[in-house]
């Protein structure tokens, strides 16, 4: 639909007529009974991507996690996170060196807690939408695998990363 509308917007000639044209195209074969788009405003030009300039440490990424309450380090949780990390992440990650993916010992210093959890929980979307994750895919080529973890499991892994960082 946007493709049909854009020229009208750019030329700014009779926008309402071209909007009508768009409606014609939309209703052409659908029976024309109802058209949800009819009340929508004409398409706006796409915004430039402001996130590209965001500080990686502040950027929360794209996904289910919008805020993480860190608090004191929970060593029990970190120990459980270590187990998960070792069984599910070490195929591609090492703590102290680049492997299939980036090294992770200092990841909590490089990324926000939300970003880390979103990258674990929602990697497919992250490498398409998040500017930092996109850069990583371009650099490492092998995509971050979605290991289908629960939020609770991802939080434990995050706690493990925090414990490493604090021990350094």
């Amino acid at each position: 639909m946007e493709t049909e509308c854009k020229p009208t917007y750019h030329t700014r000639i009779f926008p309402s007529l071209f909007f009508l044209l768009a409606v014609f195209f939309l209703t052409g074969c659908s029976g024309g009974n109802e058209n949800k788009e009819a009340s929508a405003p004409p398409a706006q030009p796409e915004e430039t991507t402001p996130e590209a300039t965001a500080d990686p440490v502040v950027n929360k990424g794209v996904g289910p996690i919008t805020s993480v309450n860190l608090g004191e380090l929970d060593t029990e949780m970190a120990a459980e996170g270590k187990e998960l990390y070792e069984s599910l992440c070490t195929a591609c990650h090492k703590l102290d060196q680049r492997y299939i993916g980036p090294s992770l010992a200092d990841v909590t210093e490089r990324r926000s807690p939300e970003w880390i959890m979103n990258m674990i929980l929602n990697p497919t979307e992250m490498v398409k939408e998040d500017p930092e994750a996109k850069k990583l895919l371009a650099e490492y080529i092998s995509p971050m695998a979605d290991q289908n973890l629960s939020e609770e499991q991802a939080r434990k892994i995050l706690e493990y990363f925090r414990s490493i960082s604090q021990n350094q």
Binding site: F14, L17, L21, G28, C92, I100, I141, A145, N148
Partner: protein, 653 residues
Amino acid sequence: MKPLSIITTLVILGAAWLTGCTPEGSNTGQGGALSSADAASRVYVPPGEHDEFYAFMSGGFSGQISVYGLPSGRLFRVIPVFSQDAEKGYGYNEETKPMLQTSFGFVPWDDSHHPELSQTDGVPDGRWIFINGNNTPRIARVDLSTFETAEIIEIPNSGGNHSSPFITANSEYVVAGTRFSVPIPNEDMALAEYKDKFKGSLSFISVADDGDMDVAFQVLVPGYDYDLAHAGKGKSHGWVFFTTYNTEKASTLKEIGASQNDKDFIAAVNWQKAEEYLAQGKAHEMSASYYNNEYSDENHSATSTLKNSVNVLIPEECPGLVYFLPTPKSPHGVDVDPTGEYIVGNGKLSADMSVHSFTKMMQAIENEDFETTIDGIPVLNYETVLDGIVKEAGLGPLHTEFDGKGNAYTSFFISSEVVKWKTDTKEVVDRAPSYYSIGHLMIPGGDSQQPWGKYLVSLNKITKDRYLPTGPELTQSAQLYDISGDKMELLLDFPTVGEPHYAQALPADLLKPKSVKTFRLEDNQHPYATVTEADAKVTREGNEVHIYITSIRSHFKPDNIEGIRVGDKVYIHLTNLEQDWDVPHGLSVMGANNAEILVMPGQTETLLWEPGKPGIYPFYCTDFCSALHQEMQGYIRVSPSGSNTDLTWSTGE
């Protein structure tokens, strides 16, 4: 350009656009004359959108089931059932070889004819689909959450399983009737003894709540050919009807010998009565030898169990268990309408089709209105049970399905057409040609109590000139008709995998939400699973080597292995560590004498490899998995027999 002229132009343009398309259904009543564009628009599923129905078509002599979308006719998947499938490793890997085990040994092929969906309250419920193996008598159950074969059971005392696996309204039983009568138990015997010694068997295979199949009982019947079946429904629930031919008991040139009698029979079996007789201990426990093979999604492996006996009921000892309904002439399909009242005998050598009434049948049984009795089976009076005749509807009626609106649709093989008739008046109301030689036809839910009567699929044996030629062997095909209006409208031809012998379909919404995406690694109970890379290893016991190997995009661990020797039996157990949808990894090794393995996320599969000469053997991932797929490879060093090369393994060292 002035504003006014722009408006005029737009109005004209818009009108032209709109008139180019016709609202759905407006063609009904116009003699089925469809423009190509109109037909195309009605089967068109735009890119990225989904079909309305899943259709499951048997592969006939391919031994498999293929999964299509309707109305588009797009092929999604071929499910290997009775035949080895090198693409998926089915029947080649160690885990699924037991699925094809039979009392005749490993039988890696069969002829799969009739898919049948599981039902609850007479309606397809989307749990499983069953299918018969015609040649080496078997029934398979396919799980519709994984689209994988979950179980195969062999049918004892059978010479060929054609009238199968038709299902009862609550999936209590799937049935099997022997197409070839044989000595029971089977033994060395002169063929001249056919008339006196050969027997038929009608088997009832129970289906447990978890799907588990078991041969509950068999009914021993005269030595005819048992052709097809369907269960009663609604008022006729509790009965299963089987067609017979060769009531002449010819053992040679059946083409002529089995076509002498004016009427053969539909055998009506009261399975609730059978359950009473079983409870009373009337069954004979016969020794028999047959396999039951079951696949588990917990350990991703199949196990074979040999069974040693079967319960057999003899009609002479069990009054009220079986009745014969005389039916002209070599009836092929027997189809029960959604109300359960009409029992349609598709007399393939008769010009007319006989429709029996279940109510009249019950009345005749109550009145003991019998023509005669054969081996303890009362033969009901044809005139008494007949509800009516569909007169000269076509040539060679084979099968009938229903639309739930009082209409029946019958396939006519010889005259190559679909004929629509009214179940109550038996009046023919429409006919449409099929291209060519239709066998079965299928309406989604059309053999159940609740048909979704929008489309009909004609399953054709011969295509001749319909497609681009491909040498002597041509594709077989299906054709899609819209049956929502008064007239059938042919919308689409599409080629099929193997012979689309019979099919079933149901609304996509019944299956889509429960389709399994991955197997959880933590639930993997495979004895050779490696659920984390740290546990990857190679072990040796004598000449048996087990490689515990993992895959994740885009490497194997281990990918360098040394210390294998000529003469070793090398079991490569690949666990796919991925936990994301649609990321299988495959593995193949140079010179392996079987096939690749193709491992779903969280699954473990095993390739048995017996290297025959020393050297370096590459192995690699066969399923394009990522940008670094081509890098997903490794080496195995094979040393001469008796050498002492250390057994070592590594990745990235």
